[in-house]
Every structure is written in C-alpha cells, then in structure tokens.
C-alpha cells in the first residue's frame, strides 16, 4: 500500500516537471534526449520509443473528452486531517503544498463529458498529487462520480494512477476501498457500463477496490499493477521476481485484464466498448470508431 515513490529521493522522470532544468529529459526506456514540449504534444509518449510516461490528469481529460464537452464535478471538497498526522512533516502541510502545485484540492479530477458522443463520467487520478494516494476525498469523488453517472445515465470511465491508500488518513483511507466499491452498485443497478483504465502505477488499495471492479478493465502498456509492491514481495520471499512480473502484459496473460491498449488508441477503444455495451453502435459508425478490435495492442 506504499507511496514509496512519492517519498523516495531518487524519482523516475517526472513528466510534469515544468522547471527550467526539466526542458529536456532522457528517456527512462531508450535513453534518447527528448524535448519536453515534444513529449507533451505526443500524449506523453517518448517520441523515439513510444514509452508511456505518466500523463497529467488534465491532459488525460483533454485526450478522452470530446472538445469542449468536459464539465468538472470535483474540486468542492478537500481533505481534513482526522488523525492530526505528522511524520517528518505535518500532513496538512503536505496537502497544502500538493494542492498549490497541482491546482486542485486532492488527487482526483472528475466530471461529465462526452467520449466520441457517448455520455460518460470521467474520474481521473492525479499521480502527481501525493502519489495518487486514495484518502477520504479521492474516495468520495469517485463515489459521487459513480452515483451521479447512474442518475444521469452516463457510463463511468476511471483512470487509475495510484500508490495505494493514503496512510496519513489511517483506517479511514482503508475504508475508502469499501466506499468506492459500494457506490458502484448504483451503476450496476442502472445497467450502465463501468470501464476501468489502469495506468502506471496502480497499486495497493486502489487496485484492491474500484479499479479492478470494472465491467471491462484495460491497462496501458508496461504499467505496474499490483496489490503488494515488488519491493515488499522481494523482501518477503527473498528471491528474484519473474521477468515482467506485475506488468500489464504479464497480467493480461494471467487473465486479469481484458486488454492492453496504447494511449493513442485508448479513446477509440473506450468508445467502442461503450457503444457495444450500450447497443448504440451502428454498422455505419464502425468505420468512424476505428481502433483495433480483437487484438492486444502493444
């Protein structure tokens, strides 16, 4: 359930780094020098090798929502500090700083949109806010999005990116796993689709709750998806882990995912799923949807 990465000094390349030092970055995967502006224009994919970098939540919404269709729901609630938690620094200070930097009160962005004409609720996690950890606010926003989607006849699309539960909210963050899960019931009753997109990384309490309860679950290539992180497992079993362990392609083979879909194909693929599930796909519309039905895009 760790936020290890958030607290680790040496971090992987931050795709949201806007500092002058961050103008250029060296690709984690192929070592190519990439101009950051090019990365942003390229859906945060390496321009050389296509490596999928973490995508900021706003860019993700812009990619998935039809132009001008997004209407934000989240942002009216913020975290309390029920435990008066303090480690090397008070939790409220961490929250304030993250809120200021990310320009939102917590690690989630939700709202209504149309996705190739399909009415959806989008709930996109912001990994750059406290490692996308799920506390009371993230749980509540997801629950509200699911329930409002059910009321408004929208499908739900969530995009997970999370280090797990937010331990600074103690057992209350654990309870968000149950909260988000029970809220999905409204969608089920309304027979509305819930599609869960897992991105790098999706771990701990988020993986073990709403994110793996989608009618359809897809992942981006190479995403780390797990309950316990690789480091924890290595410490437990004291052995090397199998090649590709806990990565999207590995989990697809193990039968845990419906498909692995590259970012440029994601929107069309989601639209296809939604229209097939809702019976709104007409033969003439098929050509417009495109995508690569049937195959695992890698």
């Amino acid at each position: 359930m760790a936020l290890e990465r958030w607290f680790r000094r040496k971090r992987p390349t931050r795709s949201d780094d806007n500092s002058p030092a961050g103008l250029w970055l060296k690709c984690d995967e192929c070592n190519a020098q990439i101009y950051r502006k090019d990365l942003e224009k390229n859906l945060y994919l390496c321009t050389e090798c296509g490596h999928h970098y973490k995508m900021p939540a706003d860019a993700r919404v812009a990619m998935l929502a039809d132009a001008g269709s997004f209407e934000r729901w989240s942002g009216t609630i913020k975290g309390a500090d029920p435990l008066a938690f303090e480690d090397t620094e008070p939790y409220v200070k961490r929250l304030e700083r993250a809120a200021e930097r990310q320009k939102r009160p917590d690690a989630i962005l939700t709202g209504a949109a149309s996705l190739q004409g399909e009415p959806v609720a989008l709930a996109v996690m912001d990994f750059f806010f406290a490692g996308g950890s799920m506390g009371s606010v993230v749980g509540e926003e997801i629950a509200r999005a699911a329930e409002r989607a059910a009321r408004e006849g929208r499908s739900l699309v969530t995009v997970a990116a999370s280090g797990g539960a937010r331990m600074q909210e103690g057992a209350l963050s654990l309870m968000q796993m149950a909260k988000t899960t029970v809220a999905l019931e409204a969608l089920s009753r309304a027979k509305l689709p819930f599609i869960s997109v897992l991105t790098d990384p999706t771990t701990g309490g988020v993986t073990a709750s709403f994110a793996t309860l989608g009618d359809i679950i897809v992942s981006e290539p190479q995403a780390l998806i797990c309950f316990a992180g690789p480091r924890v497992i290595q410490q437990t079993i004291k052995q090397d882990l199998p090649e590709g362990f806990q990565r999207a392609e590995f989990l697809l083979q193990k039968g845990m995912l419906d498909d692995v879909v590259t970012r440029p194909n994601l929107k069309a693929r989601l639209a296809l799923y939604l229209s097939l599930l809702r019976g709104t796909l007409t033969p003439t519309a098929t050509a417009a949807v495109g995508g690569e039905p049937g195959g695992a895009a890698v």
Partner: protein, 317 residues
C-alpha cells in the same frame, strides 16, 4: 512469552507464587501478606494496561497465547463444521470457514487463522490469506445468502499475503470482489477484529452491518513497521508510526470505523482467553439478535450507508 512491559507484572505474580509455596511448605499463615501483594498486583495490572501506548497495544494484539479465530470458533460456537476449499485454486488454511450454531442459531462463520505455535503458524501462513482464501470466503457469502444464514467473521491477519503466486492469481482482484460480495449480503453480518486487522486483507471480510473490535486489537491501513519504513525510512520507528496511525480500538471508535469495543480482561485477552471468548460470544449473540429484526432491504441499506459515509471531508472555501 511475556511482553516487555508485562515484566513487572510477571515479577510480582512470581513473588506471590513463591510466597504461597513457602507458606504451604513451612505451614505458616501468610494470607495477609499475600492478599496485600495481590491487591498491589491488580493495581499494577490496571496501571500498566490503562496506559498502554499504541505500540504496546500492537504487541498485545499480536501476543502469543491470544485466542485465535479457531479458539473462538471452538469455544463460542457449537457444532462447528468446517467446509474446505474454494472450488478453483485450493484450500487456504489461513482462512477457516464453515457452519456452526451460535446461541441456537445456524450461522456461517469465517475466521482468519494465525497459528497457536510456530508449526501451526507456518502451516497457516501466519494468517495471511492467498486469493484462494478470499474465494473461499466468497463461496461462504453465497451459501449464507442462499440459505438465509447470518455471517460472522473473525478478523486476525497481518494482511493478505504479498507473494508471487498471490499476485499472479489476482490478490487485488479477489479482495475487491470480496468487499463487493460481502457488501451485497442479504443476511445480517457481524465482523469482530480479534487481533490484527491488517489492511485490505482484513477489510475483504470486514464489510459487515456491525464491526466490533476487542479492546487491545488493532485495525490499520498499513502495519506500523511498513509505515515507518516508508515515512521515516526506518522500520525501527514503528512505535512512532503506531502512534501516528491511530490504530487502537478507542481511536477507531472515535473515527467511526468500528461500532463497538469489547472489553478484555485486565492484562489482555492472552491472560484470560476463556473470559475473553465468553464476552465475545455474548456480544455476538446480542448483535445478531438485534440485526435479525431487519429486512433484507434494511440490512443492505444500513451496510451501504455505513461504508458510504466513511471519511472526513471539508468544503473548499
């Protein structure tokens, strides 16, 4: 076997024993002295146990000799009949399930089982279930619904097992499914955290109408050791993490995570397992009795509301 902070208590009770032995050996009357010391022992136990730090409670929650799920099942329930296997992957001995009578009522009981000694502990994987364990629990939820039997779960696990096979078999997926399945039970469900409520692995069988906890049990999103390793980068800061995580029965009652705390005998459940188990049994009967008057819809709505309202929020100004 004694916990570090129990040493003065053990020393004093050893002295009382010695004095008794001496008195009977020498055939002299030391009853006045002995009763004086006994009074002092009781006060000492009270003082120590009223003022336990959170980290000390973590130690009590994990103490050897503390009654395990099977101890409760064998003493509180009657005619326990174990049912094995998840019908897919195997039979997980860290999750014990079956049918039993409780106060004359047929119930489905699910217990997370730690070992009572090292050998059993290894056999039971220290109470850490694999996906198979959660699948078995879900099979029991189905059975409970089909036959209209109330569900009792006894929670005591460091967490779901973090291993290669567990991950490959979808540990996260089954925990999510188990949470969902349990939330949809049409029958009354009561959960009791009897020792360690370790994270998602505990919550997977904790989505009950009533969630109770023993006085010295804990329920947490992460173990103090792992929390310390991440936030302080030093697992030996676990006592600090335990304080920060507010994982004791009293804390959880205040946060609304649990509905009630079951008192333990002075000195903790491991000092008097029989008395502890009697208390839990009586409380379970009481809770099931109260829930039995609710309709299916009321049970579902109550459970939904209980978990839907978890958390603390503020409005953005």
């Amino acid at each position: 076997m004694a916990l570090p902070f129990e040493k003065p208590i053990d020393d004093l009770s050893d002295r009382i024993e010695d004095m008794r032995a001496y008195a009977s050996e020498q055939n002299i009357d030391l009853s006045e002295e002995i009763s004086l010391l006994e009074g002092r022992l009781e006060r000492l136990q009270h003082d120590v146990f009223e003022n336990l730090t959170r980290w000390q409670r973590v130690q009590v929650a994990r103490a050897p000799g503390r009654p395990t799920a099977l101890d409760y099942i064998q003493s509180v329930f009657e005619t326990f009949t174990e049912l094995h296997g998840d019908r897919t992957l195997g039979d997980d001995s860290a999750m014990v399930t079956g049918l039993a009578l409780l106060g004359g009522r047929s119930v489905v009981v699910i217990g997370q089982q730690k070992g009572r000694d090292t050998k059993e502990n290894i056999g039971r994987n220290f109470g850490m279930a694999h996906p198979s364990g959660y699948r078995k629990a879900m099979r029991m939820f189905n059975m409970a619904d089909k036959f209209g039997l109330p569900v009792v779960t006894l929670i005591d696990t460091p967490g779901a097992y973090p291993g290669v096979a567990a991950e490959e078999q979808g540990q996260a997926w089954v925990i999510a499914e188990s949470i969902q399945r349990m939330s949809q039970l049409k029958v009354p469900a009561v959960a009791v955290v009897i020792g360690e409520g370790g994270s998602g692995g505990a919550l997977a069988v904790g989505v009950a109408n009533r969630v109770l906890i023993l006085e010295n049990a804990i329920y947490s999103v992460i173990s103090p050791e792992s929390c310390a390793a991440i936030l302080w980068r030093d697992a030996s800061q676990a006592p600090k993490a335990a304080e920060a995580l507010k994982l004791t029965a009293g804390d959880l009652l205040e946060l609304g995570v649990v509905d009630g705390v079951i008192k333990e005998p002075v000195g903790g459940a491991h000092r008097d397992p029989q008395a502890t188990m009697r208390c839990v049994g009586a409380r379970l009967e009481e809770e099931l009795g109260a829930l039995s008057s609710l309709s299916e819809t009321e049970l579902l709505e109550q459970r939904y509301a209980r978990f839907r309202n978890m958390g603390r929020l503020e409005s953005v100004t």
